[in-house]
């Protein structure tokens, strides 16, 4: 069931749709903003709301990198693994985060606080290595900085 808040926000988006424009990406983003991820139930509810099929919504949802079809933690860490960050020491940074959180790419910590995912080039190549948590970009990462950022997000050694 979509919540009233979700329905209102979706209604707003649909009101601005152009004739023939499918707003599934925006609608998926709205539902994910409230729930963190897109469950099978959410796919069915969204398809009913858009007047399309669940498979159609899922084909879109599963295609895009930033729509999550599995549950994620409170904070999704998007670690840039593209070339400029790789040259500037991404493997060390990745190893350090994995050691600190005890998870690898695609996993969520047992306390459900962090999910770690790779992300394509964040466009901060002159300041690499870089990562994002939520809407915040972190650059020039080193091991000390990682510890500080993780602590700020509730990680306890």
């Amino acid at each position: 069931m979509l919540s009233e808040l979700e329905k209102n926000e979706i209604g707003e988006v649909l009101a601005h749709a152009l004739p023939g424009q499918d707003m599934s990406i925006d609608v998926l983003a709205i539902v994910q903003k409230h729930r963190g991820w897109i469950s099978d139930e959410a796919v069915i509810d969204i398809s009913a709301c858009l007047g399309t099929t669940p498979s159609n919504v899922d084909s879109v949802a599963s295609f895009y990198n930033l729509i999550y079809r599995k549950p994620v933690g409170d904070h999704v860490i998007l670690l840039c693994d593209s070339i400029s960050c790789w040259v500037m020491g991404y493997p060390t940074i990745r190893g350090h985060i994995e050691k600190r959180l005890g998870i690898t790419f695609g996993r969520t910590t047992a306390d459900n606080r962090f999910t770690l995912l790779p992300v394509a080039c964040l466009g901060a190549c002159d300041l690499g290595p870089a990562m994002m948590i939520g809407e915040t970009l972190f650059t020039k990462l080193d091991e000390e900085k990682i510890d500080h950022i993780l602590k700020e997000h509730g990680w306890q050694p």
Binding site: Q21, I25, S84, V87, M88
Partner: protein
């Protein structure tokens, strides 16, 4: 006045990137170009941009004026027409549009207003990658200001022309940056590319005439309108016109972005602006314009960085943001990282790309970890041809092959060493 403007893209960007609000932008001369354009006929605006010699800054270098000239004009043209700003900056190593989006949003809006007027588009979108949250915040504020000042909306500045500017935040996929993929994504579908023809100028978003231009290209338009095509041509050092945002990432002393005359020699960018290599690091090669360009070598340092000269040096100017390969970095690992990106971002629509890229990625992984065989090099070379131009639906796989084919040419010995020594010579173990 015009003679002293040498950095039309970045002149109003402050060091802290705090963008000018609309009052400050207007005070600095902003929106004068739009006023001038709106007093001309759309076709005259197209002609000015065509005469300027502006070539698309997204990587392909297609002449912007020519792109526009195919849009159906006049009262019988299909409506609505669309102008889409490609702000889906996901090419690895590329960080130039972010500077313009965050630092001078009104320049993009003014460029979009003039461009939309030139093709008589009534709806425009900025197609922005979702990770650029700061750009979204800055743009939304600037769009609201421009609406308030009637640079957007109905009957702009008392003329019959109206334009609605919207922001779309993408859900993330490299192939959204391909113009027909971008159009599909904006229609709410998977961003698989479309067959061309029909070209987007005739059948684009929702079946209507559509122009997709890169952010940096659109930001060149106000200057061209205000100071004229001859001024724009005079900015370039070679026969390519204008300025270019050049960037350097990797082991340079000072990484960053610089707006310089088009055709600035590579050596000047690397040595004068980036300060050369970090102490202890030697340059072995570089990708001149993002991940999907061929390597250039230290022997190419005197190349003027324009579209034609870089092509003559065996590569492409691409986005003009360079990634350095230094002597402490393994070339095989470097190329493996690139191919891993392309394999992951392949949309899966056409077989050579969907199946070929993961194969190439696995072979490179094997060579990098000391499990490669000499026959693997033949397989890699075959893929450079079979994933090259003409075999795939869009330029993703051919782009992926550019750094691989040039690495096989320039760093062959390093591949061979991995295979013979059964390990990566750069690995610590």
């Amino acid at each position: 006045m015009a003679a002293v403007i040498t950095k039309p893209l970045t002149q109003h960007i402050r060091p802290d990137r705090e963008p000018l609000d609309i009052k400050a932008y207007e005070y600095a001369g902003g929106y004068q170009a739009a006023r001038k354009a709106l007093a001309m006929s759309p076709l005259d605006v197209q002609k000015v941009v065509g005469d300027s010699g502006l070539r698309g800054r997204g990587g392909a270098g297609f002449p912007t004026g020519m792109k526009w000239s195919f849009v159906p004009m006049g009262p019988d043209a299909p409506r609505p027409k669309f102008l889409l700003a490609n702000a889906d900056e996901m090419e690895p190593g590329t960080f130039k549009d972010r500077l313009l989006l965050e630092g001078v949003p009104h320049l993009l809006i003014e460029g979009m207003l003039i461009s939309a007027y030139a093709i008589q588009a009534e709806i425009a979108y900025v197609f922005l990658r979702r990770e650029y949250y700061q750009s979204a915040r800055v743009l939304l504020r600037a769009i609201a200001e421009a609406e308030q000042a009637n640079y957007l909306g109905k009957n702009i500045l008392g003329t019959p022309f109206s334009l609605e500017l919207r922001l779309h935040q993408s859900a993330g996929r490299y192939i959204c940056g391909e113009e027909t993929g971008l159009i599909n994504s904006l229609s709410g579908r998977r961003s698989t590319p479309r067959a061309k023809p029909p070209f987007p100028q005739f059948v684009g978003l929702l079946g209507k005439p559509t122009i997709v231009n890169n952010v940096e290209s659109l930001c060149c338009i106000p200057g061209i309108m205000q100071y004229g095509p001859e001024w724009f041509k005079s900015l370039g050092l070679t026969k390519d016109a204008g300025t270019k945002l050049y960037g350097i990432s990797g082991r340079a002393l000072r990484t960053g972005l610089w707006e310089l005359p088009m055709g600035t020699p590579l050596r000047e960018i690397l040595e004068d602006h980036a300060g050369g290599m970090q102490p202890g690091y030697t340059l072995r090669g570089l990708l001149p314009g993002g991940a999907s360009t061929d390597f250039m070598l230290p022997e190419h340092l005197d190349t003027p960085m324009d579209f034609d000269a870089v092509q003559e040096a065996g590569s492409r100017l691409g986005t003009g943001t360079m990634i350095l390969l230094d002597d402490h970095t393994c070339p095989v690992g470097f190329v493996h990282n690139l191919i891993q990106f392309f394999a992951r971002e392949s949309c899966g629509w056409c077989t050579p790309c969907r199946e070929g890229l993961p194969w190439v990625e696995k072979i490179l992984q094997a060579i990098e970890t000391g499990c490669g065989e000499s026959a693997d090099l033949t397989v890699l070379e075959d893929h450079c041809r079979l994933l090259g131009p003409g075999y795939t639906y869009c330029p993703l796989a051919p782009g992926a092959m550019e750094p691989l084919q040039s690495a096989l040419k320039y760093f062959k010995q390093d591949f061979v060493r991995h295979i013979e020594e059964k390990k990566c010579p750069w690995s610590q173990a």
